[in-house]
């Protein structure tokens, strides 16, 4: 009997180790999944916060310029396109860029509002234009 017990004990140890490694692997997989989700969520939060910050800054420039897009372009150090639209391009670190493939784009487009109001739509999208990060309308009274 004792000779049969000895190998079974070492077998039990092996089983214990296998179970421990299995539990470790399972917990590691779950934890890694949580870490990855957290990383994605944090990146989205940073993108949203920066998008809001840039849009607010541009909106205040638009208001400071009394709704004049050319003056807004001068304040934002960019140029007005032929379509009467202001476009600011950013790289993945939210630094202004003139590159062809920006990671984020902020667009200011005047919209038709009430007769006495000047309104502009501010839109922040990601580089592929697939995701709208932030949208708002800046308006000011002053065309009287």
């Amino acid at each position: 009997m004792e000779e049969r017990v000895r190998p079974s004990r070492s077998g039990l140890i092996a089983i214990e180790l296998v179970i421990a490694v299995g539990v470790f692997a399972l917990c590691a997989a779950v934890s890694m999944g949580l870490f990855v989700r957290s990383e994605i969520m944090s990146r989205e939060s940073v993108e949203l916060t920066r998008a809001v910050s840039e849009a607010r800054s541009a909106a205040e420039c638009y208001k400071a310029a009394d709704g004049d897009l050319e003056e807004t372009a001068r304040l934002l150090e960019t140029s007005l396109s032929e379509a009467g639209r202001l476009t600011l391009a950013y790289d993945k670190d939210w630094t202004r860029t003139e590159g062809q493939d920006p990671a984020f784009t902020l667009t200011i487009q005047e919209t038709a509002g009430q007769a006495e109001l000047k309104e502009a739509e501010l839109t922040v999208i990601d580089g592929e234009g697939e995701e709208l990060l932030f949208w708002t309308v800046a308006a000011m009274e002053g065309v009287s």
Partner: protein, 129 residues
Amino acid sequence: MKRGGSISGAVSLVMIFCVLCMAVFAALTMVTAQREHTLAVLTADRAQAYYEADRTAAETVAALERGERPQGVTLTGDTASFAVPAGGDTLLAVKVRLEDRGCTVEQWETVFAGEWEAAETIEVWGGAD
């Protein structure tokens, strides 16, 4: 056998410790990320609500300049005042002085409109008996 058992126990203990650490760190990371995301969404919502209120206020001022008296506007002499909800417990309080040509903005600021209660839980010395 004794030596093998103690090694196995030590390995298991280290493994349990590692698993616990990983689980705690993963949970803390997730909670922090969720709170950051909630804060970012709240900030975005507040910014959107502020600019919406700003637009509504601009429309109201334009209507006042046209000689109309929109709903919610209080006129005191030549001064008109009104407030627009700007998200959460904040209001965009506007006060304009009406003039012959146009008007002059005297106040255009967000104010807290929520209720608050003074803390009365700490006993403080109320002066000499």
